[in-house]
Symmetry: C2
C-alpha cells in the first residue's frame, strides 16, 4: 500500500477490541494506526517493548502512564511521546464516547 | 525532547519560508514536522532523496506531484504517502490561507 487516508475505514460503532493496521512495514520501521474506543490496558499490565516507539494521538483522548512516573499523562490531539525500549507503560483509559486514533512508529534504535 | 504537541509553536502569520522541526533524530529514523503557508517547490525543481519518506498531511491541503505521474495528487488531512528513495516528486502548491502541517518520516530502507 502506497497511499491512503488515516481516517478511512474507521469502525462505525464502539468495538470490543482495539484495531491495529500496519500502514508501512520495513526492516527498521513499522508505522501503525491504532483505533481505540474506550479500551485500556488490563489491570497491572505494562507494555515492555524491545523496540523504541514514537506515538502521536491524532483524535480523541487517552491517559498514558509510565511505570517510572506517578502521574497519568492526559493526551489530547497532537500530543506525541517518545517511548524508549523497555520503558514500561500502560494505557489507563481512552475516550469512551469517540474513536481515539493513534499513529505509532516502531523502530530499532540502532 | 521526549514529548510535545504537534500543533505547538505554529507561525501566527504566513511566512516566507516553510518551517522544519525535527521531533526525533535516531540513526535510522528522523521525524520532522513541516509547516507550509502557501509555498511550493521552485519551478522545475524535483526532490530526489536517498532516503525513503513516509509523509502524512495533518492540516491544510497541498498538491503533490510525482515525476512519473501526470496528475497532481490533491492531499487533504489524513492523506499519507510512501515515497520510495529517488522517486522524484515536488510540491505544486500548499494552502495559501491556512497553515499546512505535515509529519514526515525519513528513513533508510534497509
Amino acid at each position: 500500500m502506497e497511499s491512503q487516508n488515516l481516517y478511512d475505514g474507521l469502525p462505525t460503532a464502539p468495538e470490543t477490541d482495539e484495531h491495529f493496521d500496519s500502514l508501512l512495514t520495513k526492516p527498521n520501521l513499522r508505522v501503525e494506526r491504532i483505533v481505540s474506543s474506550g479500551q485500556a490496558s488490563p489491570p497491572d499490565f505494562w507494555y515492555d517493548q524491545c523496540e523504541a516507539e514514537w506515538v502521536v494521538l491524532l483524535k480523541g483522548s487517552a491517559g498514558l502512564r509510565f511505570f517510572d512516573e506517578e502521574r497519568v499523562r492526559e493526551l489530547k490531539p497532537g500530543d506525541w511521546l517518545y517511548i524508549a525500549p523497555h520503558r514500561r507503560h500502560r494505557v489507563e483509559w481512552t475516550d469512551a464516547h469517540a474513536a481515539t486514533i493513534w499513529l505509532a512508529l516502531h523502530f530499532h534504535e540502532t
